[in-house]
């Protein structure tokens, strides 16, 4: 039984067996842009033009060991936290501008399996509804423990 909000509950996974400490060599980053924070990016930036966009909750990349290879590769990135970030109406406008002005191809929103993270999906949906153009929007939910993708669905 939990004793606090799953979004801020203290959990320690360090005793788990599969630590993957036999990995060798350097992995290549799949990040092809800067900045990445949603307040800092310009929706008209060249790296967004007609691209597939990944909107990830701040915690997601730390949870998935293969985030770069499996999720970021081939996409442009924006990150944000629906629980702690301020002025989130700006986020909605930026998503709408990405769709209408930069003519992005798809939007994938990746969130953690905590209720507060659903807010980021809501931001993505609101932005998509506000936009004149229509594009496919996908939601990917990541488990807090074990770093696994729990569900993927087109909204």
């Amino acid at each position: 039984m939990s004793d606090c909000c799953p979004g801020s509950k203290t959990m320690d996974f360090s005793e788990k067996d599969e630590q993957g400490d036999d990995e060798t060599g350097a992995r290549q980053s799949q990040l092809k842009q800067w900045p990445i924070q949603l307040h800092l990016v310009s929706p008209q930036a060249p790296y967004f033009q007609e691209k597939d966009i990944l909107l990830a909750a701040d915690c997601v990349p730390f949870t998935l060991a293969d985030f770069h290879k499996d999720h970021l590769k081939g996409k442009s990135l924006a990150i944000g936290c629906p629980k702690l970030d301020s002025d989130q109406e700006v986020y909605v406008d930026k998503i709408a501008a990405l769709i209408d002005d930069s003519k992005i191809n798809t939007l994938t929103v990746m969130i953690m399996q905590v209720p507060c993270c659903m807010g980021l999906s809501q931001i993505a949906k609101s932005g998509a509804e506000k936009a004149t153009r229509k594009i496919p929007v996908k939601q990917v939910v990541v488990g807090v423990e074990g770093g696994k993708v729990l569900s993927e669905e087109w909204l």
């Binding site: 939990s2 606090c4 597939d52 081939g74 087109w154």
Partner: protein, 262 residues
């Protein structure tokens, strides 16, 4: 109950602290959260509780929030729980939705052929209006998006795609025969081939919805899903909004006509 579902969890717990205790009982620890902006529906939904557990939890919450209300005990018929729906991308979802209108015509076919059989002479306008739907909506509007766009994303030589193409050709042959029957006033020919079309398309649509479309989508990248959506949207725009509306109106009128006849 709808009100609670769309309320911030903090507001609900502030109004009724017992809700926090109930959530805790189910492993949902919202009570100590200082933000509490999650909606109750999200808080419950994301935990993926089984239907019985979720219904019991909501029942307990409703009981404490509305103590004066006569809240019925939750009864979930486990035998009626359907497996999770297939999640199609938007472009493919549109194709699945188009199947629904086609299936409404298929459902009317036995009634239509009965009517034709019982009529003194063949109602050629009725038969040809159904053929116009099949040709204009099912074949030109719908099947062409499959053949010209969707099927191009997979190996068109694969067995399942070949079967789909064969079904489209067989369907067109049935249509040709129905037209011939209408021209010659041949009721048996009309019946045989409208029923043939119905049987073929019923199976064809089932195969596409449950097997083919999910199979194709599993092979597509997000980039291709986005491209598919734009190409299908452009194809829809090229025929205009009026065409699907015209055929939906036709089906509604046909359903009404035969509802009155019966």
């Amino acid at each position: 109950m709808e009100n609670i579902l769309n309320t911030d969890i903090r507001a609900v717990i502030d109004q009724c602290p017992e809700v926090g205790r109930i959530l805790e009982e189910y492993g949902i620890g919202c009570a100590p959260c200082s933000v509490g902006s999650c909606l109750v529906s999200d808080v419950v939904g994301i935990h993926g509780l089984d239907p019985q557990t979720e219904a019991t939890l909501m029942y307990k919450i409703e009981k404490v929030v509305y103590p004066d209300r006569d809240v019925p005990e939750p009864k979930v018929d486990l035998s009626k729980i359907v497996p999770k729906e297939i999640n199609y991308s938007p472009a493919v979802k549109n194709l699945v939705d188009e199947h629904v209108l086609i299936k409404r015509l298929l459902a009317l076919i036995p009634t239509i052929t009965d009517f034709v059989e019982k009529s003194e002479t063949v109602d050629k306008d009725l038969v040809m209006s159904c053929i116009d739907f099949i040709r204009g909506y099912a074949d030109k509007f719908h099947h062409m998006k499959e053949e010209d766009i969707l099927f191009k994303y997979v190996d068109e030589q694969s067995e399942i795609i070949k079967i789909m193409y064969e079904d489209h050709v067989t369907g067109r042959n049935h249509v040709k025969n129905v037209v011939e029957g209408a021209e010659n006033g041949n009721k048996a020919q009309i019946k045989e081939h409208l029923h043939g079309y119905r049987d073929l398309l019923t199976q064809h649509i089932k195969k596409e919805d449950e097997i083919l479309y999910p199979w194709i989508e599993r092979q597509m990248s997000d980039q291709q899903i986005g491209e598919l959506f734009q190409r299908c949207s452009a194809a829809d725009a090229s025929v205009g909004e009026e065409l699907p509306k015209k055929y939906e109106k036709f089906i509604i009128e046909l359903e009404e006509k035969f509802a009155k006849e019966n």
